[in-house]
């Protein structure tokens, strides 16, 4: 497949507006403002089958259609650039190397939303990305791609970069809104949903960076073209895959939606890091999704295929683990992440995540009891489904899947009082 989302990133001065425009950049925005209504843009995105690339895979056109038809309050488009899911680093790539793609995608989508302002909420740790985006936004304003009377039309839309302050939970759409408003990054109870009552009580749509980066191409080359990329129309388009872990060439790779996981590892990633340490496990979609055993890795990387095997594409953070990996230690590290990042608002996550970490810590350090393994599952089951936001599920699924698929390793830790995974020579 030709490079679509990553077509610019290796070009010299790829971040500048001149380089972006010289490669056809901002043509889609011109086309939309010149010849399409906002609803027509939404129709195209619906037809393309674009699904959210932030983790949930929700059909984007459908999400856009939730905004009120009659406009009685300001509308807002929020760009979720708070990329914090462990194993995910694709959005930062776009923001650092092709910020204008992100801007054009955002403005096109803001147009479709009848938005009065577009806020890009960027992760606080992305210092370099912030610099690149700020420069690019200034350039975009200069050329009339943002601000008042965009490209000579009657549409006004401000484009603002807002920097986060180090909380994973601020990538949750309602917590993002709370944070943007200047409050604690606490998720909100839904309903009401953002399209009815979002940031500052106004209709709001929140989309991921990569999702919005697809929109210029949909508008320029057509919904049918986009839908034809990939193995089926429910899982379509170009996709950025984040490969990390025990492979020879970790990195971001672009390919069609539905790329076989083993191809990603072997062809793109150069195969396993050590030839004598075979694949043991893989988390295919960021640490929140259930882990796969090596046998389960013969699967296509798309939303529906992974759902069928009991995992998820999520944010496409593919983390490869070889035979030297202690699954207990890996799970402990993951549990520590969620305990640290839990916002503390609701009971099951606030208390449960810390409890899970404490138990795993004992098991890892030889103080586990036989009943701890079932207790882990029970706690995870008690968190799942009972929380305000999806961080509960994100903390529960790794525990459930690791224990289910690698139970003997946990049992060994308990009976042996130590790790028995063969240490490499």
């Amino acid at each position: 497949m030709e490079k679509i989302l990553t077509r610019n990133i290796h070009r010299e001065s790829s971040q500048s507006i001149e380089v972006y425009e010289s490669n056809g950049g901002y043509q889609a925005l011109r086309k939309a403002l010149g010849s399409l209504s906002p609803d027509q843009v939404t129709e195209q995105v619906k037809k393309s089958g674009l699904r959210g690339r932030g983790g949930a895979g929700f059909p984007t056109g459908l999400k856009w259609s939730f905004m009120p038809k009659e406009k009685s309050k300001p509308h807002y488009l929020l760009v979720n650039a708070d990329e914090s899911e462990p194993g995910t680093f694709k959005d930062r790539l776009l923001m650092e190397e092709d910020p204008h793609l992100v801007i054009e995608g955002s403005m096109l989508s803001a147009y479709a939303m009848h938005a009065d302002a577009c806020y890009i909420y960027i992760r606080g740790e992305f210092v370099h990305g912030t610099r690149q985006m700020q420069k690019a936004i200034a350039e975009a304003y200069q050329k009339g791609y943002a601000g008042k009377n965009i490209l000579g039309s009657s549409w006004n839309c401000e484009l603002v970069l807002h920097v986060g302050a180090g909380a994973y939970i601020c990538g949750e759409e309602t917590a993002l809104m709370s944070s943007l408003e200047g409050n604690r990054g606490w998720p909100r109870v839904k309903p009401p949903f953002p399209a009815q009552f979002g940031v500052w009580g106004c209709p709001t749509t929140i989309n991921n960076v990569e999702t919005l980066a697809c929109v210029p191409f949909i508008i320029e080359r057509g919904a049918e073209w986009f839908a034809a990329i990939g193995n089926d129309e429910k899982n379509s388009g170009p996709k950025l895959y984040c490969l990390s872990g025990h492979v020879k060439r970790p990195g971001v790779y672009e390919a069609a939606m539905g790329l076989p996981l083993l191809d990603l590892i072997n062809e793109f990633g150069g195969g396993m890091l050590h030839d004598d340490r075979p694949l043991k496990a893989c988390i295919p979609g960021g640490s929140s999704v259930p882990v796969l055993t090596a046998a389960e890795c013969d699967v296509n990387l798309d939303f529906d295929s992974l759902a069928k095997v009991g995992s998820a594409l999520g944010s496409a953070g593919i983390m490869v683990m070889d035979s030297s990996t202690c699954m207990v230690k890996a799970l402990l590290r993951i549990a520590h992440f969620y305990a640290h990042e839990s916002c503390g608002q609701c009971t099951p996550c606030r208390q449960g995540c810390g409890w899970l970490e404490d138990i795993l810590d004992r098991i890892e350090h030889g103080k586990g009891r036989a009943e701890d393994i079932d207790l882990l599952k029970s706690i995870a089951d008690n968190i799942e489904g009972n929380t305000i936001c999806a961080l509960g599920e994100a903390a529960a699924w790794p525990v459930q899947s690791f224990v289910k698929r690698f139970r003997p390793e946990f049992e060994n830790h308990v009976t042996e009082g130590r790790c028995v995974v063969a240490a490499p020579a």
Binding site: E341, T347, C353, G354
Partner: protein
């Protein structure tokens, strides 16, 4: 109006009602911590999870509005498991403070642990350690470990008093309630956070370690602190049980908490009112009738002497009385009735005022029954003018009907007034400075030691109840007047209870038309005539 089926029963509710409100409205309890009817919905405790048919996950009843045809189950296996799960999560880091925690016996965590948990702990890790017994304000102590992060206290300070002193700090299981740097929880309503805290994280300093709540006898009444007349529950240490130490059942008021009355005080009361019962201890009590220098005299003798002094002075128009604006309507009416029949008595109402009316509950007028006074006593003289008349030798008998709540609020008389006035009769509960400058002292019941009504500033007649026995020989004010009446040779009114006096009030004083104790009930009532007149 959407129809809801809840646990098999059909129910119609107004549009916008949440599942929890629908259940509570029909007397059904769905366990919950963070929901409070006087505050916004938070939805963070997750205890009210219920099953809604066709919904994939359990939903929180406190925030989901009822839609037509909704079918809800609140007590099947799935819901019970979730409730037990949430309860377990709340208990794992909760300190085992029950033996020393004020909340014991009225603690939601205890109650739901009993009714909705497995009763066994699976937690073998080390519990979190946070700050305990933190002084955060004049009246409130915080224990961060006991807190279950329900956010009720924060929402109260943000939404009701709009003072915003409290907030969450830190994240995850380290999330703790704290006070903003440089601030203290000293708003005039700070005590309410203690009421609404479902556990013992916030406790009232004045009640801390005072007693166990199961030793308390609770009587609904009305605060006498100001003209708002907030509805309260008066808790008296009264319930003697085996193993109770003597200090527990001493018949003293241990605390006041607000009662809900949406026509008067909503869910709240102010700190001044909450602690008003402490003023009852500001001076020693007058336990028996006395002459000056503490010479005790028989009740009969006091009454006969007093009646004669009043009658004689009245006959030459040289009698006067100053009445507290905190007396019950019944007591005020009894005195007025006596003065009218005798004729020749100048009377006035003391004025107690401080501060300003605020946006919430506080009234500058601290006379809880000022309105009752104006309805019953009508146009009357200034207390100041009466004292002036006394000093200039125009009065032979001055009756001080004292403040039943606060000895400080009964006017101090000028020194040596007895050189200008022949008789100063003190009728009240305290042996305070005013009493000590009197020539005759007659004990009367203090606030909360007699039944009666008071009218608040909006014309609402409310019942003040006797919560414990009057001290010594003290008795209701109207009974004192009945005795004086008889001794003065006037016809007795035949009143045997405060309800009898109220009946007379309703017949004789127009704004009280239609008022009976039954109509007044627990939430008060406006008089038929008063309502009609819009007064």
């Amino acid at each position: 109006m959407p129809k809801l089926t809840i646990d098999g029963e059909e129910l119609e509710v107004p549009s916008g009602t949440t599942i929890l409100q629908a259940a509570l409205g029909r007397g059904q309890e769905i366990p919950h911590y963070c929901y409070h009817p006087g505050l916004s919905v938070a939805g963070n405790c997750r205890m009210c999870l219920v099953e809604v048919e066709k919904a994939p996950k359990l939903v929180i009843a406190c925030s989901v509005p009822v839609t037509d045809g909704m079918v809800v189950n609140t007590d099947n296996e799935r819901v019970k498991e979730a409730q037990a799960a949430v309860q377990e999560f709340l208990l794992i880091n909760h300190p085992l403070d029950c033996p020393i925690c004020d909340q014991a016996g009225e603690c939601r965590l205890q109650d739901y642990a009993f009714s909705h948990s497995t009763g066994k702990s699976r937690f073998v890790e080390e519990k979190l350690k946070l700050n305990k017994a933190v002084d955060i304000g004049h009246h409130v102590t915080l224990d961060q470990e006991r807190c279950i992060q329900c956010s009720r206290c924060i929402r109260f300070c943000d939404e009701v008093t709009k003072t915003g002193e409290l907030a969450f700090f830190e994240r995850g299981n380290q999330a703790q309630i704290g006070i903003h740097p440089g601030k203290r929880l000293n708003n005039p309503y700070s005590g309410n956070v203690v009421d609404i805290c479902p556990v013992g994280a916030l406790t009232l300093k004045e009640f801390r370690f005072e007693t166990r709540i199961w030793y308390l006898e609770n009587t609904p009444s009305v605060c006498a602190g100001c003209a708002r007349g907030c509805n309260v529950m008066v808790s008296v240490g009264n319930k003697q049980k085996e193993m109770t130490s003597p200090g527990q059942f001493d018949d003293r008021i241990k605390r006041l908490v607000p009662r809900v009355n949406h026509a008067v005080n909503g869910h709240w009361m102010c700190d001044e009112g909450r602690l008003s019962y402490q003023r009852l201890d500001a001076a020693p009590r007058l336990l028996s009738a006395q002459a000056p220098q503490g010479a005790l005299i028989e009740w009969e003798q006091a009454i006969v002497t007093g009646a004669a002094q009043i009658k004689q002075a009245a006959q030459s128009g040289r009698a006067a009385a100053i009445l507290s604006p905190r007396l019950t309507c019944e007591t005020m009416f009894a005195w007025k009735d006596l003065f009218d029949e005798l004729g020749g008595v100048r009377f006035g109402i003391e004025r107690i005022a401080s501060g300003e009316d605020d946006d919430l509950l506080l009234r500058a007028d601290k006379g809880a029954n000022s309105t009752g006074a104006s309805w019953i006593l009508g146009e009357r003289a200034d207390a100041e003018a009466i004292v002036d008349a006394a000093i200039s030798g125009k009065i032979d008998t001055l009756i001080m009907v004292a403040d039943p709540l606060d000895p400080e609020d009964t006017r101090r008389l000028p020194e040596n007034l007895l050189l200008k006035v022949k008789n100063v009769i003190y009728v009240g509960p305290f042996l305070d400075q005013t009493a000590e400058s009197a020539s005759l002292l007659i004990p009367a019941a203090a606030w909360a030691a007699e039944d009666g009504t008071m009218v608040n500033f909006e014309g609402r007649v409310q019942l003040v109840r006797r919560c414990h026995m009057p001290r010594g020989e003290g008795r209701p004010g109207w009974r004192v007047v009945e005795d004086l009446r008889e001794a003065a040779g006037l016809e007795s009114r035949g009143w045997t209870s405060s309800a009898d006096v109220l009946e007379s009030l309703a017949k004789n004083v127009t704004p009280f038309g239609g008022i009976t104790e039954e109509r007044v009930g627990l939430l008060g009532a406006t008089g038929v005539a008063a309502a009609a007149a819009g007064s």
